[in-house]
C-alpha cells in the first residue's frame, strides 16, 4: 500500500519563524472569514456533513492507483471538496484535514501549520473554485463544463500549492528558487494529472449516482465573486512570480534578507571573541560541543532522578 511522501506538507524547521507567523496570520484571516460565511449561509446540517466529508477526504487518500514505475497517484481533496461543498465549507474541511494530519500523524509541522493550511486549504480551495466556476460558466451548464472544470480545478490547485511551497522555502532561504520552483512545479504537474483523473472518475460516478449533489451549487448560488477573484489573483500571481523568482533566485533572497525572513545566522564565535578559549580545551568547536554534552548529561541526570523516584514510589505503594 502507498506510503507516498507528501511533499506538500512542510515539516517544522523548514520555514523561518517570520514566514511561519506571517502565514498563520493570513490563514487566521481567511479561515475566520470562512467561518463567518459558513455560519451565515449554511444550515446546522453542515456540521456533521463537514466532519464526515473531512474524514472521507482523509480516508480517500488511501485510494491510489499505480501510475508507472512504482509511483502512484492519489487524492489531495481540495478540488473535490470545493465542488461538493462550495468554497467556504471546503476551506474549513481542508483546514481540519491538514490540522489533524499535522497534529496526529506528523504530516507537516505545527509551527508551520498555518502555512500548510494556507497552501492546501485556502489557496487550493480558492484556485479550485475559480477554475471550476469559470469553466462552468463557459460551458453554460453543459456536462463537459463539470468534468473539464473538475479536472482543471484539481490540477491547478495542486500546482498552485506546490509553487507556493517552493516560494515559501525559497523566501526562508532553505531551497533556492531556481531549484525549488522547477522541481516542485514539475513533479506536481505530473501528480496533478493523476489526481485530476481520479477527481474526474469520482465526478463521473457522482454524476450518475447522485447528480443532485453536484448540481446543488447551481440551485443555491453562493455569492462567490470575492473568492473567485481571490483565486484568480493567486493563480495569476503564482504564474508570474514563479518564473520570475526562479530566473532571479538572488532577487528573492535579497527581498528575504531585507524583510528579515532569513533564518538567524549566528556570528562565528571565532570573529566575535578571537582569544576566547575554554581552559584546557584549545578547539573552540570542540568546546562548544562539550558544553552541550555537559548540559545533556545534567538533563539526563535530572530525568533519571525523577524516573528513579517514581519507581521507588511505585514499589512502596
Amino acid at each position: 500500500m502507498h506510503s507516498a511522501p507528501q511533499p506538500l506538507h512542510i515539516p517544522d524547521g523548514f520555514l523561518s519563524v517570520l514566514v511561519s507567523l506571517l502565514f498563520w496570520l493570513l490563514t487566521a484571516a481567511a479561515v475566520g472569514y470562512a467561518l463567518r460565511r459558513v455560519g451565515k449561509d449554511l444550515g446546522d446540517r453542515q456540521v456533521p456533513m463537514m466532519g464526515v466529508l473531512a474524514a472521507a477526504i482523509f480516508a480517500g487518500q488511501m485510494l491510489n492507483f499505480s501510475v508507472a514505475g512504482g509511483t502512484s497517484g492519489h487524492l489531495m481533496g481540495a478540488a473535490i471538496a470545493t465542488i461538493l461543498l462550495g468554497p467556504w465549507a471546503a476551506m474549513l474541511v481542508m483546514t481540519c484535514v491538514v490540522s489533524v494530519q499535522a497534529l496526529i500523524f506528523q504530516d507537516g509541522g505545527l509551527l508551520v501549520l498555518g502555512a500548510n493550511i494556507f497552501n492546501m486549504g485556502v489557496v487550493g480551495v480558492a484556485v479550485s473554485y475559480m477554475a471550476y466556476r469559470t469553466l462552468q460558466r463557459l460551458a453554460r451548464g453543459a456536462r463537459w463544463g463539470l468534468f473539464a472544470g473538475g479536472f482543471i480545478a484539481t490540477w491547478l490547485s495542486i500546482e498552485a500549492s506546490a509553487l507556493l511551497v517552493a516560494l515559501q522555502l525559497a523566501v526562508s532561504g532553505v531551497s533556492p528558487a531556481n531549484v525549488a520552483v522547477p522541481a516542485m512545479g514539475g513533479v506536481h504537474a505530473l501528480i496533478g494529472i493523476g489526481e485530476g483523473l481520479i477527481t474526474l472518475g469520482a465526478l463521473a460516478f457522482l454524476y450518475r449516482a447522485r447528480p443532485d449533489l453536484l448540481l446543488a451549487g447551481e440551485e443555491r448560488p453562493i455569492k462567490g465573486q470575492f473568492i473567485w477573484a481571490f483565486g484568480l489573483l493567486l493563480a495569476f500571481g503564482l504564474a508570474v512570480a514563479s518564473p520570475l523568482a526562479s530566473s532571479n533566485p538572488d532577487g528573492l533572497e535579497w527581498v528575504a534578507a531585507q524583510a528579515g525572513f532569513l533564518d538567524a545566522r549566528r556570528l562565528s564565535p571565532f570573529n566575535l571573541i578571537p582569544d576566547y578559549l575554554l581552559p584546557g580545551i584549545s578547539n573552540q568547536a570542540l568546546a562548544t560541543v562539550l558544553a552541550g554534552v555537559l548540559g545533556m548529561l545534567i538533563v539526563f541526570a535530572v530525568t533519571l532522578l525523577v524516573a528513579y523516584n517514581r519507581r521507588a514510589r511505585r514499589a512502596s505503594d
Partner: protein, 266 residues
C-alpha cells in the same frame, strides 16, 4: 487497518501522560518555536534540545526506540534543503563534478543543512510525543483552551469519530478492487487496464466513498437532531489547571527561554 490510520495514542501511567493537555500543548509548541528560533550552527543548543525531547521520551514510558523510529518518517523532506550544501557561500570542502556540472560543498552550507535537519528532527519528536501521550478528546480540550474556533473543534471532533469508519470503508473498496482486478507482486508491473482505466476505477472508488460519507452524514444529522442537537456545539466547561501543572508550565517555558539565550551567547 492501514498503518497510517492507527490512533497513535499509547496509554501509559507516566508523568508526561498525566500532564494537563493544555500545558503539554503549549510546551510542545514552545519547544518547536525554540528550535525554530535557535540560530544555525548552535550545536550545543541542538544537543540540549535533543536531550530535553529524549528525556521527555524516557519519562513517557514509551521506550526510546518507539519515538525515534516514528520520527524518521518525517525525514524525506530534508531532501528539499539539499541545495543549501552547494549554494551557501563559504570555504569549500569538496568539489564534485558530474559531467558538465560542478558542485562545491561549502562548510557553511553543510553546517546550515545539518542545522536544519537537526532542528526539524527534534521538532518532529516533540510533535510525536504530544500525539502519542495525549488522547484525542484531550487534544480537543487543549485546542479549545488555546482559542481555536468552536466550529472547527466540532468538525475536527466529528472527523476523528468517523475517520476510522471511513478508513474501513476505503479498505473494503481496496480489497474489492484487489479481488477483481488482481495485484502484481512486483510494483513495477501494472495491474488492470490502461492508465486512464485505472484512474477511472480509483475515481469511482473515491466517488463512492464520498457518496457513502454524504449518506452517513445525513443519518448522523438525524441521530443528532433526535438527541436534541440545535446547531450549537456545546461542550463542558474546561477543568481548572492545578498549581503543580502551572509550575510545570512555568519551569518548562523558563528552561526553553534559557536555552534560547544560551544558543545566542555561546
Amino acid at each position: 487497518m492501514h498503518i497510517h490510520f492507527l490512533d497513535p495514542f499509547q496509554p501509559r501511567q507516566s508523568p508526561i501522560h498525566q500532564l494537563d493537555p493544555r500545558v503539554k500543548f503549549v510546551l510542545a509548541l514552545a519547544f518547536i518555536l525554540t528550535a525554530a528560533l535557535t540560530p544555525s550552527g548552535a550545536w550545543s543548543a541542538y544537543i540540549l534540545l535533543f536531550a530535553l525531547a529524549f528525556s521527555a521520551t524516557i519519562l513517557s514510558d514509551l521506550g526510546a526506540s518507539y519515538v525515534l523510529k516514528r520520527s524518521a518518517l518525517a525525514l524525506p523532506f530534508v531532501l528539499s534543503a539539499l541545495p543549501l550544501i552547494f549554494t551557501t557561500e563559504g570555504a569549500s570542502l569538496l568539489d564534485l563534478s558530474i559531467g558538465a556540472w560542478s558542485l562545491t560543498v561549502t562548510q557553511p552550507g553543510l553546517a546550515r543543512f545539518a542545522s536544519l535537519a537537526l532542528k526539524s528532527w527534534v521538532s518532529v519528536q516533540a510533535g510525536i510525543l504530544l500525539a502519542v501521550t495525549t488522547p484525542f478528546p484531550d487534544l480537543l480540550v487543549a485546542m479549545r483552551a488555546l482559542g481555536v474556533p468552536r466550529l472547527i473543534v466540532a468538525v475536527i471532533g466529528l472527523m476523528w469519530r468517523y475517520l476510522f469508519v471511513l478508513a474501513d470503508e476505503a479498505l473494503r473498496l481496496i480489497r474489492a478492487r484487489l479481488a477483481r482486478s488482481g495485484d502484481a507482486a512486483n510494483a513495477e508491473l501494472r495491474t488492470g487496464g490502461s492508465l486512464v482505466w485505472r484512474a477511472r476505477v480509483a475515481g469511482g472508488m473515491a466517488g463512492s466513498l464520498f457518496l457513502r460519507a454524504f449518506e452517513r452524514s445525513d443519518r448522523i444529522y438525524m441521530a443528532m437532531l433526535s438527541r436534541g442537537y440545535d446547531g450549537e456545539a456545546r461542550t463542558l466547561p474546561l477543568p481548572r489547571i492545578r498549581p503543580l501543572q502551572w509550575l510545570t508550565l512555568g519551569v518548562g517555558l523558563g528552561i526553553l527561554a534559557l536555552l534560547l539565550v544560551l544558543a545566542y551567547l555561546i
